[in-house]
């Protein structure tokens, strides 16, 4: 009987020890999160009137996680115009906000933006920046519109470390946003 009591006591002691041991807090620290691209901003300047600046955004603060985008604009441009476009990529889940496009400039040889208007006649996009190997990057571009129309423009960021050759095929996508596009 004595041993039995002792066994029970030992058992209770071990469990109590286990609970105490577990109680040391181990909580995740959200500020340690990996970098995300939460926001893609297309900043347009009208070539005819440089004071006319337009910004079209896609913002999804939780990245790949289940919450829906908080902002998703349509690109609305005037017909028969030329716009100079600059892309800005941000990680707005961090404080301070991280400008991911700066890192893209630093790693230009690993990245390529691809613009795909649909229908193709909607707008003509030409990339105007080049990396050190003279291949296009795509953070800067010129958009030329002609007649009025409706469609989409897909902007893809291809991540192509060591395999960039100026085409879309190698690597995989970090961004793929299909902006509704209206020329009116």
């Amino acid at each position: 009987m004595k041993t039995k009591k002792r066994t029970i006591k030992a058992f209770v002691a071990v469990i109590a020890g286990g609970i105490l041991f577990q109680s040391c807090k181990k909580e995740p620290n959200p500020s340690e999160a990996n970098e995300l691209i939460t926001s893609l901003k297309v900043i347009m300047t009208d070539s005819a009137n440089t004071n006319n600046k337009l910004v079209f955004s896609f913002i999804d603060l939780d990245g790949d996680k289940p919450n829906l985008p908080t902002q998703f604009d349509s690109i609305v441009l005037a017909p028969n115009s030329t716009y100079y476009a600059t892309l800005q990529l941000l990680d707005e889940s961090k404080n301070p906000v991280d400008t991911v496009s700066n890192e893209i400039i630093e790693k230009a040889n690993d990245h390529l933006f691809v613009y795909k208007p649909n229908p193709a006649s909607l707008v003509a996009v030409q990339i105007s920046d080049k990396d050190s190997k003279n291949l296009p990057i795509g953070l800067l571009s010129t958009w030329r519109t002609s007649g009025i129309g409706k469609g989409t423009t897909t902007i893809v960021l291809r991540h192509q470390p060591d395999v960039k050759n100026g085409t879309e095929a190698p690597g995989d996508s970090d961004i793929e946003v299909v902006f509704p596009t209206i020329i009116k």
Binding site: T7, F11, G18, Q22, P28, A33, D172, S173, E176
Partner: protein, 786 residues
């Protein structure tokens, strides 16, 4: 089910049968024999393990005078006939045992029981008796041990179990594999490694069990919900991986295992050293270490880029054993790094489509041992202390353990930010610690054998760098009782268990912290009966009624899987699953046929599974298909069949089948992600051409896997289920006895025809063919020093 094996009796010269007429030969042979007495006597008996008193399979017994060798089957029985009166010398041994010698005087038909010391024998009788209880016939069990286990060396833990009927695997590429029992895996299977319930991130489809297969001396699969002593979650079954028990014989023994596999140029080395103190008989110890290195896997037409693996593990055990009491302390460390096929990483649906449409993996490479991103790195640390006390009122067993599991998943791309890139952080870091304590009491009153016990565990989980599952706390207390009654004809077993679970998740939602609490009462009941129709025929019936509480990943998972370009989303409202498992089987054990045929059903109410959502999720990488955890009622019905026939001496023909139908009872449709029917046919020739060689065999084996045609009507899948396939495998091996040490050599060729195929249960079937031909060599060198 016990492993089916076979009797091989090798009679070298057939000179003995008409001994009267062959006096000159006999004079040479039978030095101790009285020639003028009658020569129609028999000598038979059983070879058993000294401590467990279990019959030894593949033990060889040599009758020197007649140069006859007999290899035992699973019953351990041997038999010599046409013997004359006189003294005979018997030499008998078993792999891993020292050869024993005995002189027997025969004056009439003689039966004797011979015992062998194994250094693998359990000192730890309590543990043995517990495990024995679980492997009691009133369970649907399959075991992998000794020769069969040796033949599986070089395969991962889950792949080794695929030879058992009813067991398959869920794979991610060629190197990550999880066991599947009756179509269920992950949280529905409890893995018990060296008496400790394995606690890691077992919910993940690409999270292989953190078990060193080389430490196991015996792997037991208990199918169905009846093994209640291991916990409340095991509605599919329990897998026990047991190491060799500590030695009890003074001296030091070592065992070296080496395996090579050509598929990925894999080398495995496992070294074990153990001993028992010369003066302090109670003290035994063991040290063990395993190292594995593998490179890119070769499919018939290409190498799979970045599919190498590394694994190093070590463990140490020290035990103190007395008749009345004893204890054991165990510690182990498991560490693995597994490369993930480069082409399986996709950023968007467009990438996935391109990867699927390409008949070759998009990224090519030659053979290499290098592991680059993406890869996983997993560490599992375990420590355990247990003690037993044998009293007149039964045995008391006490065990406590602590496990720490760290899993790091490295994404394909390193950070763009140089200072972050330098840190080389994983995309996801998961950390879980588990503390277990249990006490059990084993006693017998008349014909009732009882086991009662209580268990407690507490668990803390956390993560870093990105969210996939929440940080949480989990406390669980449980108590159980198992009663067994038996007479000569009937064995009955009843069990009941109750668990209480308290879990709290820590969530950060839009900057706010939320800590929901979940509580569950989880009952489990089981009953089984074995009826011995006659000595060779047995019928059994088992039933189990079990609840399984939803796990944290099912409640809260949220994130993108880059390899399948799908988003998984948890469901906070899930209720416990309720499972009713019924199975019945017939077991035959005749000299010419051995069979195990069973039928089973698992009826599961509120079965938790991933259902494709009709609305995809929009992210900055485009739209992704969404799978949400939801509940339905299902039936998993099937049959496991093992039949072995011995048409002539030394030949064994064997057929196995695992048939399974998964039905969604609410939609009257099939369930997705269920293994298709599979079959296994083999022919095995056992022979002993030379005295020094024993247990030599040649075997040919065909594995046939049917196409999975039982798919839901509106199944969402990127590719149709792969075609049926069959593979041809070859195996050969022998034991070599040199100076009383039994060396084992094995040689096998898997997928001999280098077939190109894909399997439905491989998550990377979208990206790559399975591995091609694999030529394997296995060596086991045991040495024992006094």
């Amino acid at each position: 089910m016990k492993s089916i094996s076979h009797i091989q009796s090798l009679k070298f010269p057939a000179i003995i049968t008409k001994s009267w007429l062959k006096l000159p030969v006999l004079l040479l042979c039978l030095l101790h024999t009285n020639l003028f007495s009658q020569c129609n006597l028999t000598l038979s008996g059983r070879i058993m393990e000294e401590h467990t008193v279990e019959p030894l399979e593949y033990a060889s017994i040599y009758l020197s005078a007649k140069k006859l060798t007999f290899i035992t089957d699973s019953s351990g029985l041997f038999h010599f006939d046409n013997l004359c009166e006189g003294d005979y010398e018997l030499l008998y041994t078993h792999p891993g045992c020292k050869t024993e010698k005995k002189i027997v005087s025969i004056h009439s038909n003689t039966t004797l029981n011979l015992e062998l010391h194994h250094h693998e024998i359990d000192l730890h009788e309590v543990t043995v008796s517990q495990h024995k209880r679980e492997s009691a016939p009133t369970q649907q069990i399959e075991t992998l041990k000794e020769q069969a286990l040796f033949e599986s060396r070089g395969l991962s833990f889950a792949e080794a179990l695929r030879t058992l009927s009813g067991v398959s695997s869920l794979r991610t590429g060629s190197t990550i594999s999880k066991p599947v029992i009756h179509g269920m895996s992950g949280n529905r299977i409890v893995l018990v490694n060296n008496g400790i319930k394995l606690e890691g991130q077992q919910w993940g489809q690409d999270h292989a069990p953190e078990i060193d297969a080389y430490l196991a001396k015996k792997i037991t699969v208990i199918k169905g919900a009846s093994a209640i002593r291991y916990g409340s979650e095991a509605i599919a079954g329990v897998i026990l991986s047991d190491p060799e028990p500590l030695p009890h014989k003074a001296g030091i023994g070592t065992e070296l295992n080496y395996v090579f596999g050509s598929l990925n140029q894999q080398h495995d080395v496992c070294m074990l050293i153990q001993g028992n103190h010369n003066k302090i008989k109670s003290l035994s110890w063991r040290l063990q270490g395993t190292y594995k290195i593998g490179g890119n896997v070769r499919s018939p037409n290409y190498y799979q880029k970045n599919t190498g693996l590394r694994e190093y593990n070590f463990s140490g055990t020290i035990g103190w054993k007395k008749e009345k009491y004893g204890f054991e302390i165990f510690g182990s460390y498991f560490n693995t790094k597994i490369g993930i096929l480069s082409s399986s990483h996709t950023g968007s649906m467009a990438d996935l489509k391109a990867a699927i449409q390409s008949s070759y993996p998009r990224e090519q490479s030659d053979f290499s041992y290098d592991i680059n991103r993406p890869y996983q790195q997993v560490q599992h640390f375990t420590t355990k202390a247990n003690a037993y006390l044998n009293t007149k009122k039964g045995n008391i067993l006490f065990q406590t353990s602590y496990q720490l599991n760290t899993r790091e998943e490295y994404d394909k791309h390193i950070s763009r930010n140089d200072s972050l890139a330098k840190l080389n952080r994983p995309a996801l870091w998961l950390w879980i610690q588990t503390f277990h304590a249990e006490v059990m009491w084993d006693y017998k009153i008349k014909k009732w054998q009882s086991l009662v016990g209580g268990q407690f565990f507490s668990q803390t989980n956390t993560y870093k760098y990105s969210y996939l599952i929440p940080a949480y706390w989990n406390f669980n207390g449980g108590a159980f009782a198992i009663e067994r009654w038996s007479n000569q004809k009937i064995e009955l077993e009843f069990g009941a268990r109750i668990d209480y679970r308290w879990m709290q998740a820590i969530l950060f939602e839009k900057g706010k912290k939320r800590e929901p609490i979940f509580q569950y009462a989880i009952p489990t009941v089981s009953a089984g009966v074995d009826y011995h129709i006659n000595q060779k025929m047995k019928w059994n019936f088992h039933s189990g009624l079990a609840w399984r509480a939803p796990s944290m990943n099912e409640l809260f998972v949220g994130g993108l899987h880059h390899s399948t370009a799908t988003v998984e989303i948890g469901n906070e409202k899930l209720k416990s699953e309720q499972s009713l498992n019924l199975s019945s089987g017939l077991n035959l054990d005749y000299q010419w046929i051995q069979a195990d045929v069973s039928l089973y059903t698992h009826l599961i109410k509120n079965y938790i599974y991933l259902l494709p959502d009709t609305t995809p999720l929009l992210t900055i990488r485009g739209y992704f298909p969404v799978f949400r955890y939801t509940q339905t009622d299902v039936a998993l019905n099937g049959s496991d069949i093992n039949i072995a026939v011995f048409p002539i001496k030394n030949i064994k023909l064997e057929a196995k089948a695992s048939l399974l139908w998964g039905v969604n009872l609410k939609t009257h449709d099939w369930l997705a992600q269920i293994p298709s029917h599979r079959f296994n046919y083999s022919i095995r020739y056992n022979f002993n051409p030379i005295e020094k060689f024993n247990g030599m065999f040649l075997a040919i084996n065909i594995v046939q896997v049917l196409k999975q045609n039982q798919l839901p009507k509106n199944n969402i899948d990127f590719l149709p289920a792969p075609n049926a396939y069959w593979l041809l495998n070859f195996d050969a091996g022998t034991n070599v006895n040199i100076k009383h040490q039994n060396f084992s050599v094995g040689f096998s060729i898997q997928n001999m025809l280098n077939k190109v195929y894909r399997d439905y249960m491989n998550r990377f079937r979208y990206f790559t063919d399975e591995g091609g031909i694999n030529i394997m060599l296995r060596l086991k060198v045991p040495l024992f020093f006094h």
